[in-house]
Symmetry: C2
Subunit: 325 residues, 2 copies
């Protein structure tokens, strides 16, 4: 491929946070929310390779500046290597999401970077074709290339990850009235550690129960039955292991349900919790109730309330983007 010249290029993309697992779909379900999310700005450079030019934002601290250790850098490097584009890309990351939060922070950075990078070189690939590069980045961040965050962050919506190798994902529509509450308590739960605590064998009866819940959740989506969806948000696999790692988990979950949540569980591997609500007003009430639980325990928190994000990664600004042919 050759670059056909032109003006200064800057492209900035946004990619949303995601709720992985969605309680009943361990390593299989993920969905994107409207906020929070990360932004990535890319510029074209003459020297090949990827350079991190800066990391800003309220959660920038402690992120590695080396492109090879940062999910945005790893993803874009993999993309450039695959496409054979010989120009370099500079990355500026605006980190609006807490790290290690269970909200798909690393995936959002990678997906925003990929979508911006793809755009600045003339949009050679579809989102689906970009997904494998986000998974390579997830391997660096989490030690495993699970797609339950990257796929919804990039594609938007509710995504079923049937299989990672070969990659097989399906997007499914979430009923419009559903709002998601995401609350991140200021406690540290290491994703890799949370994953290690999972047993490699589970009871067949638990697998059957989880399969009943996961398929019932989809049946609820199919029928627009949001009560069934919420009622199916039961996790007999990960929550019994990970719940006790999160301070106030049971109390916050009970508070959410008492405040009208259709369902509530751990987002990804935690410590963030999510709740499903019928409408925005209910969601705000539920979020406030959960926040009170953490506040009373002396734990700070960030709260995000939004609908399902149906678009995934999107361009939010561009200047002089051009085509590479």
């Amino acid at each position: 491929m050759g670059y056909n010249g032109g003006m200064t290029k800057i492209v900035r993309a946004y990619a949303p946070a995601t709720i992985g697992n969605v309680s009943c779909g361990f390593d299989v379900f993920g969905l994107a929310v409207e906020r929070p999310g990360d932004e990535v700005e890319v510029t074209l450079r003459d020297e090949p390779g990827v350079v991190m030019l800066g990391i800003e934002g309220e959660f920038a601290r402690s992120l590695p500046m080396e492109a090879s250790k940062n999910t945005a850098g790893v993803a874009v490097s993999a993309f450039l290597a695959h496409t054979g584009i010989e120009r370099g890309i500079g990355i500026r990351l605006f980190k609006h999401m807490p790290l290690g939060s269970g909200m798909g922070s690393s995936a959002a950075s990678a997906c925003a970077a990929l979508w911006a990078a793809n755009r600045i070189v003339g949009s050679p690939l579809t989102k689906e074709a970009l997904l494998p590069f986000a998974l390579q980045a997830e391997e660096v961040a989490c030690g495993a290339g699970h797609a339950d965050n990257a796929a919804p962050s990039l594609l938007g919506g509710f995504v079923l990850v049937r299989r990672t190798t070969p990659l097989d994902v399906v997007r499914l529509p979430v009923p419009e009235q559903v709002y998601w509450v995401l609350i991140h308590p200021d406690v540290v739960v290491n994703t890799a550690e949370a994953r290690r605590r999972m047993k490699s064998e589970i009871r067949l009866s638990d697998a059957v129960a989880q399969m009943g819940n996961a398929t019932s959740f989809l049946a609820g989506m199919l029928k627009g039955d949001i009560r069934r969806m919420g009622d199916s948000l039961e996790d007999v696999i990960a929550e019994p292991v990970r719940g006790p790692m999160i301070p106030c988990f049971d109390t916050a979950r009970q508070a959410a349900l008492a405040a009208g949540a259709l369902g509530c569980g751990i987002s990804g591997s935690g410590p963030s919790l999510f709740a499903m609500a019928d409408g925005e007003v209910a969601a705000e009430t539920i979020g406030a109730s959960m926040g009170t639980v953490f506040s009373e325990a002396g734990i700070g928190w960030q709260l995000y309330v939004s609908k399902t994000n149906s678009e995934g990664a999107r361009i939010v600004f561009e200047e002089g983007a051009d085509e590479i042919l």
Copy 2:
């Protein structure tokens, strides 16, 4: 309740065979086919209790005549006990399905009997309300009250059994062009033994893979994508254990796929196999290919090709049915 009198009563009902598990939905998925099926004729009697008056049909041999050991009798006894109806019911069972076949034979007898009995006493209960009595009968027949045969046989269609206690089932629509091939090889596989061979623990990775397949199958149904449905008919839980118990299983499955089957697997706990086909012509071709495999091994077989049965148990004849108030 009191019986309000009237004419001689005879009601005959039909209930269809079912494909339990549907490969990817172990103990969770089941679907009804148009044929084969069992018929049950009931008559009202003055003496309370349930009496088996006869068992006929090509597969009548070796079925117990005691009402307490026969699924039709057990189901109707449970129904009468629940409703407090003091009349007795006589049962004549027309057994058109092989026993121990993996096609839900015991459930079909129970469901036909329940639907006929409910009708003859004035239809006090819905199908959903009758389902628990069919499960009691399944416990007698199979040692476990799984609903993946009884629910689709009674209700019709594709049924997701989210949970048995408390019972939670959902019916979902199967795309119209789908035809099901059911082939029963004349070999004996004991359902209880097939179940015993299952390990009580499975790998988490297998549970995740199965959940990916089961949810992908539903996503295919939701989107009318029958290729995805067929491709998702993979079973990493039961088939590795039960497949080797069925002579010619691998060869017959390969023959089905080579003949155009969208997917193929074990029906229930076997030895019957099922295949999913796009249209009736394809289904007939696939069935013939599978039959050839068994014939060449010197094994006899019965073949059934039909669409999804959307009605479930149905009344096929009645004379003088009356109301009990």
